[in-house]
Symmetry: none
Amino acid sequence: MPSHRPGPPGGKREQNRRRRVQELTSAALELFLQDGIAGVTVDRITTAAGTSKGNFYRYFGDKEELVATLFAPLREGFEAALDRSEEVLSAARDHDELVAGYRLLGVSLGALLFAHSGVVRLYLQEARAPAVGARRPVRVLSDLVARRSITLTDVARENGLLRTVDPRVSALAVVGAVERMLWASLTGEHTFDPLQTAEALIAIVMDGLRPTTPAM
Amino acid sequence: MPSHRPGPPGGKREQNRRRRVQELTSAALELFLQDGIAGVTVDRITTAAGTSKGNFYRYFGDKEELVATLFAPLREGFEAALDRSEEVLSAARDHDELVAGYRLLGVSLGALLFAHSGVVRLYLQEARAPAVGARRPVRVLSDLVARRSITLTDVARENGLLRTVDPRVSALAVVGAVERMLWASLTGEHTFDPLQTAEALIAIVMDGLRPTTPAM
Amino acid sequence: MPSHRPGPPGGKREQNRRRRVQELTSAALELFLQDGIAGVTVDRITTAAGTSKGNFYRYFGDKEELVATLFAPLREGFEAALDRSEEVLSAARDHDELVAGYRLLGVSLGALLFAHSGVVRLYLQEARAPAVGARRPVRVLSDLVARRSITLTDVARENGLLRTVDPRVSALAVVGAVERMLWASLTGEHTFDPLQTAEALIAIVMDGLRPTTPAM
Amino acid sequence: MPSHRPGPPGGKREQNRRRRVQELTSAALELFLQDGIAGVTVDRITTAAGTSKGNFYRYFGDKEELVATLFAPLREGFEAALDRSEEVLSAARDHDELVAGYRLLGVSLGALLFAHSGVVRLYLQEARAPAVGARRPVRVLSDLVARRSITLTDVARENGLLRTVDPRVSALAVVGAVERMLWASLTGEHTFDPLQTAEALIAIVMDGLRPTTPAM
DNA sequence: CATGAATGAGGTTTCATTCAT
DNA sequence: GATGAATGAAACCTCATTCAT
């Protein structure tokens, strides 16, 4: 694949190209959710996208590149939200501003996850599988989530927001709890009222991690 | 495979047979952890177990059967622990007995998970992948975990041990948190002090789910 | 396999495609005659046809489909010949027209068998083997032959052309005799003069089945 | 397999041996009729015979040897019947004695085929398949049938019993007709009255091959 | 003697990727 | 650009035959 594309940027060719990529990724996502990334062949993707197998390789070097393309917006959105939150948190001068920072983060992430719910579900589904072949980009994201959630929790603990437990423990516990709820919700395992569930989760987390609570 | 085996029980043949099954399952487990259930061929398993490909099919109908064999002890142990705990809990007459019941469950499960840590890691790794082919037995266990944890949480809530949130939410949140910690621990993503981590987790959960705590 | 093919009809791709199918079926026929349908692997077929194993499955779903393709012309020709003959026979108004009808059938079938002698030999070779796997299409044809020959004989008997024996007996006897001669001839077991043999066979059949002859 | 067997001839060991061979061959015959000689594994045979796979090779060198054993009585009976008939025929001094000779042959063969109907059906089923592997002994018999029926017919023709057509034609036509009837009968394709059918067949053959009949 | 465990070649089918049209 | 034909490396599973118990 040449890096230079013919035609003017934004021109007809560019548009066609975008459309094709979009058709392929969304067809792939649907199939991946059904049968797993490793269980879907290039043939099925192109057939579902209404094009031909050979054409796939015009747009993606291989299946892994398509998966990376699929995850890019979620990963970038996640990093952006975290960057912004960390900025706000490090600028916070008192407890209320800190809490506001975390609220902001919650809202940003909620919006992000909602906007990419298909990819989120794919992420949850594939994140723990060995990062082999086309699945590598998933692991990139899951490492990111683990790393940044721990950093963030550390900030909170340093600011006296959390009880003084290992920040890796509290961070991963929260991540695990949230991911499990998302999984149940996205797969239809259970149907939850989103707002109510969010409130409940926040309450659990807040009380569970509240600093002054004496351990039982 | 005939059900009657030749040779005296406990004789050489019986021994060989047991050894083979053991060699195959443990070789398979190791490889599954490295490359995923779907990513490991029967050929590699038998080579690692020091036998021939064709011989695999004398012991297991197919890869799925081996996976089921691998998961059987964990699944059975899990059900036994849950059965016993539910019995104890339903017989509990006061708050302390209830808490003792949950403590018992925690200890039983801890011992179980520790005893089958390899399979536990495999479970965590594969539980969310589409339950296709050899992966089906994993899904059986994950459904079991979800179902029984919810039931158990419901018992706790009815007994006033938990705040009155949807038991599915608290149950899955706890399961998710615990699983995430186990995952980090078993994969070596982080090294935790087990006792300290258990204490921290229990404290988080207890405080997070304590009934009288007013929501923030 | 998509039903729409690229390229103009009659273009290079269409040509290549036809050629491949032709190469595969004729290579397969030759090998089938040597070693039996069940004794020939896809690998040998593709090697003989000068292509790769995987490519076979682009043209045929499996070996059975190739066999069905191989038998289609003979089966269709047989049905067409029988349809036409039955029409002629049912329109016949006197004995001579009836005999002429049967003569027509004999000529049609002779031409058909001659045109597809390879497939005919394969049919004779495989028709009685258990209709399992790739051999099923052969049984379809052999059932057809039995059924239609009996029907036809019944017509003849009702018109007083044959002695009043069970039409199944006379039909199958004639079919068996003819098939045995064809087999000897096609396998080179013996070399016959075709015309003379045909005459002899007809004479035997006609005399053997002639209505007015008193049983010995 | 040593050629010398332990134990006295006719002793317990000899008896056991015979019984085992009998169990194996009859189990094999049943399976062969269902799925073809090539489609039946040694494992299935031994399981059906109630013994173990390894044991098979104590009694037969390989599958082909079992098939040969299965066909031996029929082949020997056929040769004996033919030998006797040819003797009678060559000693015949007039037309009636000749006809009586053929009648004798018919009766002998009828009894033989009836006594070994399972093997006869297997013969019909496998006779034309390529004589490869375990199927070789079948071809031995089919060659025998062809050769001897022609010889016999030639004798008849030389004695003026048959019209002067190629004896191969009349012989094979009769063989083909008879085999086709047997096939229909033994497979249950049709149910015939045996006596009536035999009469009809004989009449057809006699009239069809009668010397003085002018060709149509 | 009897059993079934072991071997490994071989068969069918799938699929990522390249390439002619 | 688009199409699907071609390739060949695996993967799964079977089975005749040998051999330890």
